[in-house]
């Protein structure tokens, strides 16, 4: 946290300072962006984070391994299932637990539904950020259905929490697959509807094309991951590049944009929902019968050692670095969150843009603040 990032004496008479946030609606959480403006043009930018720091990492050092999973879904409440996954995978890898194949398929299906859910919320919120109020009503119609499907499995409509170390607490509920099938049948048409409504809209396209251009080399140098990176013509997806679980068995592609501008980042997320639907279809037809949980000791005590596992969450690479000293509590745990690195690049792509563009550019990064502050 910083009080005054720009020295007032060094600001010319033509320039002024504007605080965007900490309570600005388009920051979707408590984030302060200090802007230095020359007329309407941004000449300096300083993101100020840490308003909702909750010392999750310190808290986890005092919790037993199986008590930590719910903390991870509060980091990114929109992509909770993927976050659970990275954590339980870390413990499983450290303990050398072999998962039944059914568990892997169940995890993939829930994670992909979660990605659709997250992207639909981003789509709605982005629409509202740039002044389009209609998209949210369309997107939430389908999002509601996805939440209903996931709720049966996880018991939650936000901060979904179903993953346990070794598998799940329950098998898939009986109507999971029929409902999923019913949803997928119409979903692809609906994505085209969303695109027609907002993404391909002439006004939005002219507002976002050529704005906030992020080139590939810079994106990688800043540690940008996820759809934000793929928008910059960089086909890097951890599901493909560092494959985990059963993802190699599915046929899907890493969606990319061409120019790395704001519009490309929007388009990548829309395409990604199509790919998620494709994975879901394949997983639903391939899921084997079997156990829904591996044999896990009652007392979870991994051997001393350290591990880093990462998953492709809706926002990018989420990783858990876990150091165990052989007791029932982690010695040190570090959460590597995608929005943290994605926000750090904002300065590079915003300077020179107009103040109204800042909203659109920030919206296209799809930030979730609790995972930045942790």
């Amino acid at each position: 946290m910083i009080k005054a990032p720009f020295e007032m004496e060094k600001i010319s008479d033509e320039e002024y300072i504007l605080n965007m946030g900490p309570q600005h609606p388009s920051t979707h959480g408590v984030l302060r962006i200090v802007l230095k403006l020359d007329g309407e043009t941004v000449s300096g930018l300083y993101p100020d984070v840490g308003y909702i720091h909750s010392s999750v990492e310190k808290m986890c050092e005092n919790k037993k391994f199986d008590m930590i999973t719910p903390y991870t879904d509060r980091l990114d409440y929109l992509s909770a299932i993927n976050y659970n996954w990275a954590y339980v995978a870390a413990v499983e890898k450290l303990m050398g637990i072999q998962l039944p194949e059914r568990v892997e398929y169940m995890r993939v299906m829930l994670a992909e539904l979660n990605r659709i859910m997250s992207h639909l919320l981003w789509y709605s919120a982005f629409g509202m950020d740039v002044g389009a109020l209609t998209p949210i009503f369309y997107a939430f119609r389908e999002r509601e259905e996805v939440i209903d499907i996931v709720e049966g499995m996880t018991g939650g409509r936000l901060t979904h929490h179903a993953f346990r170390i070794g598998g799940f607490k329950n098998d898939l509920q009986k109507d999971f697959l029929p409902r999923l099938e019913k949803f997928l049948k119409k979903f692809e048409d609906r994505i085209s509807e969303y695109e027609a409504l907002l993404i391909n809209n002439v006004i939005l396209a002219s507002r976002t094309k050529g704005v906030g251009i992020l080139d590939k080399a810079k994106a990688i140098n800043y540690g940008v991951t996820g759809p934000t990176l793929r928008g910059s013509d960089c086909a890097i997806d951890l599901r493909k590049n560092s494959p985990y679980s059963v993802y190699p068995k599915f046929d899907f592609k890493a969606c990319t944009g061409k120019n790395g501008d704001t519009w490309d980042r929007l388009k990548v997320r829309m395409d990604e929902m199509r790919e998620s639907a494709k994975i879901l279809k394949q997983a639903a037809s391939m899921i084997p019968a079997g156990e829904f949980c591996a044999k896990v000791p009652r007392l979870i005590k991994p051997a001393p050692g350290e591990v880093y596992t990462m998953v492709e969450s809706a926002r990018g690479e989420f990783g858990v670095y876990l150091v165990s000293d052989g007791t029932d509590k982690p010695y040190r745990i570090k959460f590597r969150s995608p929005s943290f690195s994605n926000l750090s690049v904002l300065k590079e792509i915003t300077i020179g843009a107009k103040i109204a563009d800042v909203i659109a550019i920030m919206g296209s990064l799809d930030l979730v603040i609790p995972e930045i502050d942790r």
């Binding site: 946290m1 040190r332 570090k334 590597r336």
Partner: protein, 152 residues
């Protein structure tokens, strides 16, 4: 590349103090003054273009702080962990933000959480914590608001 090959390649150009394999990943200890040079070597020569994270682990039993850097190669999916051992009393290490831009924020976070100085850092301000909280992730951190639960 397996961890032996990566280790040999690093050793051919730079000094590695000690090394071990942990679940298939190379852990190499580097001298604090050499970290930027080794990070640059990994990025430019071996293709480890992604810096996953920087953090630290406090080890009061050995009176040391270990700074952890993890690198990933997108092309081969290989990973390398570099570590730097620091003295807890005067923890200072060279910044690698000149090599990886993303290190800027990761180092600022590590600095305030563990009380480590990153030398020549371009923006040594605090990132997340407000003033007055010093090195909370060290194991001996005490705060009057932290009251242990009574034993049942």
């Amino acid at each position: 590349m397996n961890f032996q090959e990566i280790l040999e390649k690093i050793k051919s150009k730079h000094e590695v103090l000690e090394s071990k394999e942990d679940l298939g990943v190379l852990n190499a200890y580097i001298a604090p003054a050499k970290i930027a040079a080794v990070a640059s070597f990994l990025k430019e020569e071996l293709g480890f273009t992604q810096l996953n994270f920087i953090t630290a682990v406090d080890l009061p039993a050995n009176n040391s702080l270990e700074v952890v850097y993890r690198f990933l190669s997108y092309t081969t999916a290989d990973a390398v962990v570099l570590k730097v051992k620091l003295d807890r009393a005067k923890a200072a290490v060279e910044t690698i933000s000149g090599v990886f831009q993303t290190a800027d924020w990761h180092e600022r976070e590590t600095a305030e959480m563990f009380g480590i100085t990153f030398l020549k850092h371009p923006d040594p301000n605090r990132l997340i914590l407000p003033d007055g909280i010093e090195a909370p992730l060290r194991k001996d951190y005490k705060n009057p608001d932290m009251i242990p639960l009574p034993k049942a």
